[in-house]
Subunit: 369 residues, 2 copies
């Protein structure tokens, strides 16, 4: 298969602002062009929009207002996992030879219709993701004798790390006590253990090797891709203490990249709620079942930024359609040694884990420099 | 590039029924499995949903209710051109090696939010597609001295042909007089010259050569792909009497397939309104500028079903997200010599033309047996 990688990126600061989705998309693309002086509009063969917004025809709209006339142009939607799906779709357009460069722009507003799971009728009135997260939290704590004080460490670490991310929604520092004393939103979960839907945008350019060599001196290659959908409704998942789709996606991505979990130097994972971080670390194979918190604690004691360097979804905010793209940009910047005060030591291989709706579907990417 | 083709199809009759989009998607997949006895659920690596419906996470929902656990799963949206974009996306997943087989299911309800172009603020209150179609009709008639009686022939032919399509919305036969005397909806257009948004579903399986050989004795190959987006708002298109994106997409698809327009034996094209048929024939290169009606008239006098054999959008109905897939299924069936009373003589090469929003974006596919 031909080498495919990332040539450029753009970001729009995460916020709670009331901006039109078209404006967020446009500004992510403007930022990408500013970051890549050699790029011209004629280089772009495809424009994919990743969002949960209800507006139609957003890819041609973004193309027109950006002055791009692409071949390929459409929207991609898969709830919180939209951005990672759009990146894999862009990869396939380039790897198949249908395109040399595909621009992926993700954007969301704080009031995204993807925030609630109205489609899962089995949930009754419990349509907010916090209800599956509460069941996951309760199961995980019971099965592995994990305490509230342990899980609060995820939020503590990710908020602390997000202070070094200029693009993050918030830059507040919270103590473990602040987190444990924050408002209880369900019996199991406190407000500061939840990511927040927000406004934001992120864009990335996926290109062939030939095109990447023209555009950047620091190419980053996509060497592993794994995806899995096990269901849509989360009650089909009989184990609430592990994430099957993430385990399968991670295994396939690591196999494709010929990479062992221990070789990974930096990881972005989908911590929509605090319990998701240890569960994702176990799915990736970095810890055995029930031992994910060991890695979180190591990260805190060594302050090494290895896991969720930009602050994760809890620290950075969660603009649904932009999240998978922003996660990928963070690993790109890390591998380019361009992550400022978030930089980990000499990373060679990084992984992105994204998922949707109680891990009923997952996407995992491996990047290398 | 590896050969990629179509292994199976499924259809849900076009109607004005009030059915949930999930049901339409499911029944298109059920029909596909019934048509392909060798296919198992484990064969399917990807499930793409093509629709303008606002519901989220429809691909995992369809996967769960169909009993499929795919790797790749997301929705694709590009207004009327969604289905063709989803087919090209599926092609790229297979051609890149990320998948062996990708199921594309398109469905729409009669009340689709894609029916009006609310996103184009420059239209003011004229958000219904009939307004661009009226401008196209007026320009085309003036520039090429074409009469209302000429354009009515498109509707006459396509309604007549749709009577042989058991999947069509309507099976009424109309005389030229019926069409010319039907209700005037704008100064330029009559009701029977317009396609009708309707309820319907269509599914198709895109597979690698190896997988296709296991599944069918009548493989159909996708040999040409062309796509172009010139803008989103149609007023950027300064020529209202030709369709630039369609011309570019057709040229690229025919070049990729190493095929001349005159070699095409059967064609499905996007006749959302009567004037679109001669304009599309000119874009494809089958007639010179302003001469598209010659081909329509030839089709009527010889009753050869070459252009829009299933009755086009005007005759068969237009369930937005399903249309591009249903068009492709028709050409597939023609090339398999399996189109019953719609069959053209010994076809070898067929073309599908689909577009959205006043031809601001177009997709053209060439298929061969």
């Amino acid at each position: 298969m031909n080498k495919v990688g990332i040539a450029a990126f753009g970001l729009v600061k995460f916020s709670l602002e009331d901006k039109p989705v078209e404006s967020l998309l446009l500004h992510s693309v403007k930022s990408l062009f500013e970051n890549c002086p050699n790029l011209t509009k004629k280089d772009i063969d495809g424009v994919l929009v990743s969002t949960n917004h209800n507006s139609k025809y957003l890819s041609p709209i973004l193309s027109e207002i950006s002055g791009i006339e692409p071949k390929i142009a459409h929207s991609v939607e898969n709830l919180c996992n939209s951005g990672s799906n759009a990146i894999v779709s862009a990869y396939s357009y380039v790897a198949s030879g249908l395109a040399e460069s595909v621009l992926v722009s993700g954007a969301e507003r704080y009031d995204s219709p993807g925030k609630i799971l109205e489609w899962d009728k089995s949930r009754g009135e419990y349509s907010h993701p916090i209800y599956w997260a509460s069941i996951f939290t309760k199961s995980y704590k019971q099965k592995y004798a994990v305490k509230d004080e342990d899980l609060a460490l995820v939020s503590f670490k990710n908020h602390r790390q997000s202070r070094e991310n200029p693009n993050a929604l918030q830059s507040e520092d919270y103590t473990i006590e602040d987190i444990l004393n924050s408002k209880k939103v369900t019996e199991e979960l406190r407000l500061l253990e939840c990511s927040r839907s927000c406004t934001g945008g992120a864009a990335i350019l996926i290109s062939s090797e030939k095109k990447i060599r023209e555009l950047t001196d620091c190419p980053i290659w996509i060497t592993g891709i794994g995806q899995k959908t096990t269901s849509a409704g989360f009650t089909k998942n009989t184990l609430f203490s592990s994430m099957e789709s993430s385990t399968i996606a991670a295994r396939n991505a690591l196999t494709m990249a010929n990479c062992q979990p221990k070789e990974l130097d930096v990881i972005e994972l989908h911590d929509a709620f605090s319990v998701c971080e240890p569960m994702a670390l176990e799915s990736i194979g970095l810890a055995s079942e029930g031992k994910g918190m060991t890695i979180v604690k190591e990260g805190i004691s060594s302050n090494n930024f290895k896991i969720n360097p930009r602050g994760g979804l809890i620290g950075a905010g969660h603009p649904l359609g932009a999240t998978g793209i922003a996660q990928t940009i963070e690993i790109m910047q890390q591998l380019q040694h361009n992550a400022d005060s978030r930089q980990v030591d000499s990373p060679k291989k990084g992984l992105i884990h994204n998922m949707a709706a109680a891990s009923t579907s997952s996407t995992v990417l491996v990047l290398e420099n």
